[in-house]
Amino acid sequence: MNIEQAKKILSTATLLEPQQFDSEQQLAYEQLRQDASLKTWFDHQQETDRQIQSTLQQTEPPADLLDSLLNPPVAKPERNILPFPIHAFAPYAIAACLVLAVIGISFKDTILNNQFFGYHRGISSFDREADFQRAMADFVYNTQISLDELSDNRSYILEWLTQNDAPTFGGIPQSLADLTTLGCKKFFWQDMSVSLVCFHTDNGKLVHLFTLHHPGQTVEKTQVIHLQRYFDLPTGGWHAGDKSHILVGSEPDVDIEPMMTHIRKSKFI
């Protein structure tokens, strides 16, 4: 451990007693015995931090705060809810059920073949991807994202995702592959595992790559997920094999379009 590393670790331990140190801090603390200048530095930091601590702890809350916390506004009493007079509507409900049952039997084949409604049963791939796209933009915009792992090594990130049963991205466009990774995270969306990998852009902003694995919806040819703005953030992606990939820029002016040229030229819609 060099002096700079020791200082970095010891600067997080200035308000602790040596017996409270963890192993890393203990190791750094050992160096104090061999390095007089490091000891002087640490003693000064300790004294300064104790001073700062005692001054910052003097922050006085407003006089009325305690009272407002101890006597919060009381909620109104619950309304006296009358039970719904179901017996009065029972004959009409039975009649309505019978009518619906007759309609259901008459149009059974049409409904099952989806001809009546004109689209597939369940959530179509398009619907789900649109939901996913919007949800990930929402996630970036409204959540304080804490990455599980920080690394600028893409191979390590892929290894981490594999070890944690998170979806891995396969082939990614060169323009994205050229960027440096910040880190990754695994989480769940609608009970499905999602991985997030963050990349730095050249101007210090971020591109988030979300990958969702949905084995039931495999496509043979890569499909584009159209560029859209949600919360003013650019989003777009592609569906390849049984995975959907969504890119979300961290700021409205992040240009994700070049990162989708491997699919086909897409414009914001």
């Binding site: 331990a13 602790l16 700062i52 910052l56 809350p61 305690l66 210090g204």
Partner: protein
């Protein structure tokens, strides 16, 4: 635990929680709102809580989450790579202990970037270790360690510069 755990929690923690809110929001009105919101959330769920030993940690996490939510809607937070900027702030300034007063320390703390203020505030207010700070702020330990080091370096620089300004 006393008969009213809510009141006990208020009495035990409202001062430091308000100070934390003040360090984050940098103004009294927002700090008061944040503190009230946090205790309002506690009042809502205190009956369902079983482990009161973690109540302080829960209060800090709740307040911090609320602060981040508000800031997200208010202003986009710029993300920075802690590893990248470490090298930029390695200078160490000698701070004279006699120069530190409450207002100066508070002003300099509040002038730091908000992602540096949060860990530093918990460090000074509660004397938390970096692992406890990581738990409270729901951040990776390495990130907290880096931010804490950078925050302290930046604060020392400001205190030292402030001292020079005063002297001249």
């Amino acid at each position: 635990m006393p008969t009213d755990p809510y009141k006990q929690a208020v009495m035990d923690h409202y001062q430091n929680l308000y100070a934390f809110a003040m360090h984050l929001s940098t103004n009294e009105a927002d700090a008061k709102d944040l503190t009230q919101h946090t205790f309002y959330k506690l009042a809502e769920r205190v009956d369902k809580m079983h482990d009161f030993s973690r109540i302080k940690s829960w209060l800090y996490s709740t307040l911090y989450r609320r602060f981040i939510d508000i800031r997200r809607k208010d202003k986009r937070i710029t993300w920075v790579d802690p590893q990248q900027t470490d090298a930029q702030q390695t200078a160490e300034e000698a701070v004279s202990h006699s120069s530190i007063d409450h207002q100066t320390a508070l002003q300099h703390l509040m002038s730091l970037d908000e992602h540096l203020r949060a860990p530093l505030s918990l460090y000074y207010l509660e004397g938390y270790s970096y692992k406890e700070i990581a738990q409270n702020l729901e951040l990776p330990i390495g990130t907290v360690m880096s931010r804490l080091h950078r925050a302290k370096t930046a604060l020392y620089q400001k205190l030292s510069k402030g001292e020079g300004d005063t002297a001249s």
